[in-house]
Point group: C2
Chain length 278, copies 2
């Protein structure tokens, strides 16, 4: 079976005789305008943790900061378990691409051995049409957008860049996007895929303003609410993803996001801070 493009994009090889160190290579399959899609970079950070021989448990939290654009070519990831407790483990991660040794990405992660407890989902899945009857989005010529089969529910990228808010009238819906998403080609869900999907929304400021200003994620945090078994049980089916902005001010806006399975299980929640110009 051929390797899936996502697995090629986040593929890492352990460095010989250098603990905590992996080598990877940027992927043309997920190319964005000036570098690879940030979602794959975030997934690569997590992948290093998941491949580490000292790993305890499964991912709980991941924060990735994009310090500089990744260029075409090889890169190095360092993932160190800085503290291992009885049931939690804390990770520091960085990604370097040139001989300067300067990080182009910094990250932290928490993994944990979960125990069964009481639980409840207070973000019930919104009532939306199933994906099969909805047209597939064609919203960009960037390679990475071809790697996701997205079906629009609401809040799609504006057709008219006319400067008038194209989201809902109510503040909480003014920058709200809801869509079905899965990998293309389809791929069984795992933590790395979920990490990448958390960063797959186009900039909220475009929907909010209908002005196509330059924008890019500066920092993203994703929390994982399901086990690897629960993710595997989603197979390669569509997930429902939604995102909205809370406040836009002087060059940065925040975005909160949720991703749930077609069966309504909330798999991940995410927040990010995004730079925008003008």
């Amino acid at each position: 079976m051929a390797t899936h493009p996502f697995d090629r994009a986040i593929g890492l090889t352990a460095a010989a005789e250098q603990p905590n160190t992996w080598h990877g290579h940027s992927s043309p399959d997920y190319w964005n305008m000036v570098g690879p899609f940030g979602g794959t970079t975030a997934a690569t950070a997590l992948q290093a943790v998941l491949q580490h021989p000292a790993l305890l448990g499964e991912p709980i939290a991941l924060t990735v900061n994009y310090a500089a654009a990744m260029g075409e070519g090889p890169f190095t990831v360092v993932a160190e378990p800085v503290r291992t407790n009885r049931s939690t483990q804390h990770w520091r991660i960085s990604l370097m691409q040139d001989t300067s040794g300067e990080a182009i990405m910094t990250a932290t992660a928490v993994t944990a051995a979960r125990r069964e407890t009481w639980g409840v989902n207070d973000m019930p899945m919104p009532a939306v049409s199933p994906p099969d009857g909805l047209p597939r989005l064609q919203f960009s010529t960037s390679a990475w957008t071809q790697r996701y089969d997205m079906r629009a529910v609401r809040g799609m990228i504006p057709r008219d860049w006319n400067g008038a808010c194209q989201g809902g009238d109510r503040p909480e819906e003014a920058s709200l996007t809801q869509l079905w998403v899965r990998d293309d080609p389809p791929r069984p869900l795992d933590f790395c895929a979920l990490t990448a999907m958390s960063d797959a929304f186009y900039p909220r400021v475009w929907l909010r303003r209908a002005v196509r200003v330059p924008a890019g994620t500066v920092s993203i945090t994703t929390y994982f609410h399901a086990s690897s078994q629960q993710l595997a049980a989603c197979g390669d089916g569509y997930l429902l993803a939604q995102a909205r902005g809370q406040v836009f001010n002087n060059g940065f806006f925040d975005q909160t996001a949720q991703i749930c399975s077609a069966a309504g299980t909330l798999l991940a929640t995410s927040s990010q801070m995004v730079y925008y110009k003008e």
Copy 2:
């Protein structure tokens, strides 16, 4: 004028001849049950960044991971500017307390020189009663809770630990807390105070379940949406803070929070992942 207890708690002294390194001491004024209030620990991480001679701009994003409980005594903070761009700067921070050198806190921060742009607040302030007519909360005997003057609006800590949800009936209100908060004694607002306040909510699982299970923040991310001038303009007045949980599952729940000025400016948004038992 006497030093405010918060300034004592987050006070740092630059280490002689060790770049990026500061010394501090745990504070009895903000003591929680088994260590200092995590909000002051997070604020200490930011304080090291703000005192750094190479600092560019003002805080945009801060993620703090609590790896182990802080004990009584001195500690060391290391804050390194790992990448400085034209208008953003990326920081890696850690806090150590014993001779093992193992981190008890890891953190990352992004600072930036902001420019004036278009902006909008899509989280308008909820309509609530002003703080002066509301009784002050007395919800714990821990020292740190005495350092905040909190006025209950809704979703206060249960009086009856009867296992029945004491939040609202709708899912989005089931774990919602809204309160007015300011430092006690009053203290002019700044980024460090706002950081600490982002972690000042009692565990959502207590409100949601009315069962007092052990719980503690594992990772918190705060985004800053105002300038130091805007914070200073808030003086030492009350801020309106709200928090809710989205999903509770197998030992961890997430919390999203917003803090706005009495005038309705959204100053900070925050999310955290919290461990809970049972």
